[in-house]
């Protein structure tokens, strides 16, 4: 949760380069999710994974976990455990494309 301000900044900075963020919340309590989204000002799209189906699909076992997909929908980096690793992978990908 401490990474939210950084992700927010990255989202604002790279929107114009065609970067989208999708939050996948594992919470069962959707009311709490909505509260956090509002209080932290997280404006990117969010889906609920209360049934853990997406976790299973992506073999995710803990949070936070990031996946990075390129413009063709291919996996560019997987199971990154921190914002820093995501940032590095994204920088690399944007430099290439």
């Amino acid at each position: 949760m401490g990474e939210v301000p950084l992700l927010k900044e990255l989202y604002e900075q790279s929107k114009d380069q065609g970067v989208v963020v999708v939050g996948i919340s594992l919470d069962e309590d959707l009311k709490k999710v909505h509260e956090v989204l509002t209080s932290k000002g997280m404006s990117w799209p969010q889906v609920s994974d209360a049934d853990q189906a997406l976790c299973k699909l992506f073999n995710v076992k803990g949070t936070p976990t990031y996946y990075l997909l390129d413009r063709d929908g291919k996996i560019a980096a997987k199971k990154l455990p921190s914002f820093k690793k995501l940032r590095d992978a994204l920088d690399l990908l944007l430099k290439k494309s």
Binding site: M1, L7, S14, Q17, G18, V19, V20, V21, V22, G23, I24, S25, L26, D27, D29, L30, K32, V33, H34, V36, L37, P45, Q46, V47, S48, D49, L54, C55, K56, L57, F58, N59, V60, K61, T63, P64, T65, Y66, Y67, L68, L69, D70, R71, D72, G73, K74, I75, A76, A77, K78, L86, L90, L93, L94, S97
Partner: protein, 248 residues
């Protein structure tokens, strides 16, 4: 007269007996069983060790410092193990002693102690995970793999056998030996069906086949919390960051 005092005496005797019985019951129920007492004792040591370790790190101590309280407490808990073989509290003490050594970067000392444990020791249930953490830190998977192989043959508890085989898969995978990892995970699925290890192994096998860099991400399609439709196919042409998260 005599009859009256007899009744009174009998009454007070009955009262006394009743009092003694009730006190005994009360004492018995408030006094925990010996095993629980020992567990409390070990837990108290662990709590104290954690407190001291937190203070030590806060005041600038390093994890592998020779004065780290973990080392003292690992020795204390190990001593407890030697004095009290074969109890549930000893299992906890053993696990904690070894993980404290690992957390203070005393990996070879931890391995030397682990070597003295018999393969049917119930503490392996957790120690096999400590070995995995340690080898991930040192990037040396040899000890873990040989120990885990021995456990898959000689452990008594099938849960420990399954976990050992699973951790062999994890070790090979982290090492970059995908073929050996696949074999180990397939063995877990085949030999220990309907266990959490089998379920995790299946997930890892799927990841090994389908979730590699360069492969198309698995498609999903579900409405957002705001009710808008969202699918990965609809995001083609964009760079997509998926963030799995939770409020807790």
């Amino acid at each position: 007269m005599a009859q009256k005092s007899f009744v009174r005496l009998f009454g007070s005797l009955l009262g006394l007996v009743l009092f003694l019985v009730l006190t005994a019951i009360a004492q018995n129920s408030s006094r925990p069983a010996p095993n629980d007492r020992e567990m409390d004792r070990v837990q108290a040591m662990i709590t104290q060790a954690k407190k001291e370790a937190d203070q030590f790190l806060k005041s600038g101590g390093k994890a592998d410092d020779a004065n780290h309280p973990n080392l003292k407490w690992a020795a204390t808990l190990w001593h407890y193990r030697l004095e009290h073989p074969g109890t549930p509290a000893t299992k906890v003490a053993t696990i904690q002693a070894l993980s404290m050594l690992y957390r203070s970067n005393r990996v070879s000392e931890m391995q030397a102690k682990a070597d003295t444990l018999k393969l049917d020791d119930p503490a392996w249930e957790q120690i096999i995970n400590v070995l995995l953490f340690a080898s991930t830190t040192t990037k040396d998977y040899g000890y873990l793999i040989s120990k885990a192989e021995a456990l898959t043959h000689s452990a008594v508890d099938p849960k420990i056998k399954a976990l050992a085989r699973f951790n062999i898969g994890e070790a090979y995978w982290r090492k970059g030996d995908v073929d050996q990892a696949r074999i180990a995970f397939q063995t877990v699925v085949a030999e220990y069906p309907n266990t959490s290890n089998a379920e995790e192994a299946e997930g890892n096998l799927r990841e090994i086949e389908l979730l590699n860099v360069g492969q198309p991400a698995p498609e999903f399609d579900r409405p957002t919390l705001n009710g808008d439709p969202l699918s990965l196919a609809g995001l083609k042409g964009k760079v997509v960051v998926l963030k799995f998260w939770a409020t807790y």
